[in-house]
């Protein structure tokens, strides 16, 4: 009984994040009777959480593999036996994404927020256009030299709205990972931002 389904994802889906999503689901659905599923999947979720936040360690990848195998073999019911599958298969087919997260603190899909940053390409930004400034929910965008716009990295929450609203003829907002690749532009003190 039951049905089969297929989910199609493109390069904008982070496979580490997808694995973390399924483990979050498992932790919520686990009945809690047996040790491997109850406690083991919590460990898997914690490790994947840390990796997607850029706090992954080298030994985490090996631990994910061994712990997943043991949970698969040690669990009492089908939930526990299949819960580690997203981790095991994504480690198998998308190991490069895991490595990028752990070794370079980089998310290849540009999905994991702590590992990404937005910035405005000053060559493409048009003077006098204020669309991004108005849409930013945390007022992180300010006017810099030549009346062009820049993003204050300390304030930015990486919602991506500025990228959505920037007119297609300019297409000036860029997203990068790791976040250090985004140029830091200082707000000039005393100069009013365009929203004032």
């Amino acid at each position: 009984m039951g049905s089969g389904g297929m989910v199609v994802m493109d390069e904008d889906s982070c496979m580490v994040d997808v694995a973390r999503y399924f483990l979050d689901f498992t932790q919520k659905e686990s009945c809690g009777k047996c040790t491997f599923c109850r406690i083991g999947t919590r460990h898997l979720l914690n490790i994947l959480d840390r990796i997607t936040k850029g706090e992954g360690l080298e030994q985490d990848l090996e631990l994910l593999e061994t712990l997943s195998q043991d949970i698969k073999n040690g669990s009492l019911c089908g939930l526990g036996k299949t819960a580690p599958n997203p981790v095991l298969t994504s480690l198998n087919y998308f190991f490069d994404e895991y490595e990028a997260h752990v070794k370079e603190k980089r998310c290849p899909a540009l999905k994991c927020r702590p590992l990404t940053a937005y910035y405005i390409d000053l060559e493409k930004c048009a003077r006098g256009c204020d669309v991004c400034v108005g849409c930013c929910p945390v007022e992180a965008i300010f006017t810099t030299t030549g009346r062009k716009k820049a993003i204050d990295q300390e304030v930015c929450v990486k919602c991506g709205e500025c990228m959505v609203v920037c007119p297609p003829e300019y297409d000036a907002v860029e997203k990068v990972s790791p976040p250090e690749l985004a140029p830091i532009i200082e707000r000039t003190p005393g100069k009013k931002s365009a929203s004032n």
């Binding site: 932790q27 919520k28 659905e29 686990s30 009945c31 809690g32 009777k33 047996c34 040790t35 491997f36 109850r38 406690i39 083991g40 919590r42 460990h43 914690n46 030994q59 631990l63 061994t66 712990l67 043991d70 073999n73 040690g74 669990s75 009492l76």
Partner: protein, 248 residues
């Protein structure tokens, strides 16, 4: 009686018994936390009693395998040890060790299992887990220590066996599972007879009777907690095997 071979040793067991029962009765120790001798349907929740049986490609829990004539069992293969050690480390990652306060220090089933598996009591490489619950929980007649509890379910089973009502129960779900006690309001109205069986059967000392109820017993109160000798007559933990024997 059936004959089976465990670790190259021939043993006999009554038909209908499980491999775990057969081994423990014959002096072969297999790590277990949730096993009760006279319980018909094993709880099978601790996932520590793994063995390898000839013909099966993966380790299985010995508490759920019936004995059969000519069964070939191994209790010490690398796949078995790997699962047991990981299971043990998982338990220790959710367990707060407090050797000074712990009422079962020295006799704790976890220490016994650690020695058998030749592992330490630390949960490394797993980190110690945080839980959204207090260190001590008031359950009216006793104090419950969730960070000592391994959720083996023995206390719940014993309470149901001894009383008409099931006063102890599992509550919540998943990682937040805990033991809860039915009833609020005036403790005089509770059907709990203070038999203390739950506290006595707990392998990790997670249920500790409150001193006030012990004092009440000493004063000749009708709702009295039996003396230690009385408790042991219906709940025994066998020294040699660590199996819990429960007679009604």
């Amino acid at each position: 009686m059936v004959n089976l071979i465990v670790d190259d040793k021939e043993i006999k067991a009554e038909e209908g018994k499980t491999v775990l029962q057969a081994c423990l009765e014959n002096g072969i120790f297999i790590p277990n936390m949730c096993f009760i001798k006279t319980r018909e349907h094993p709880h099978a929740s601790c996932r520590l009693c793994f063995v390898e049986i000839d013909g099966l490609d993966r380790p299985v829990t010995s508490c759920t395998e019936q004995v059969r004539e000519g069964l070939l069992v191994r209790t010490d293969t690398p796949p078995v040890r790997r699962l047991q050690r990981m299971g043990f480390k998982l338990l220790m990652s959710a367990h707060h060790r407090d050797p000074k306060e712990c009422p079962v220090k020295g006799s704790c089933q976890l220490i016994r299992i650690a020695k058998h598996l030749k592992v330490g009591l630390k949960s490394r490489p797993l980190e110690l887990l945080e839980r959204d619950i207090d260190e001590e929980v008031d359950l009216t007649f006793f104090t419950y220590y969730p960070f000592r509890c391994v959720l083996c379910g023995k206390c719940v089973y014993v309470c149901r066996q001894k009383n008409d009502h099931n006063l102890l129960t599992f509550a919540n779900r998943g990682f937040d599972t805990t033991i809860a006690f039915f009833g609020s309001g005036d403790p005089v109205d509770f059907p709990c007879h203070h038999c203390g069986a739950c506290a006595a059967i707990c392998p990790t000392g997670a249920l500790v009777p409150k001193p006030t109820y012990t004092k009440a017993a000493a004063a000749g109160d009708s709702a009295s907690l039996p003396e230690k000798g009385e408790l042991l007559s219906f709940v025994q933990i066998e020294e040699s095997t660590g199996a819990t024997v429960f007679d009604k």
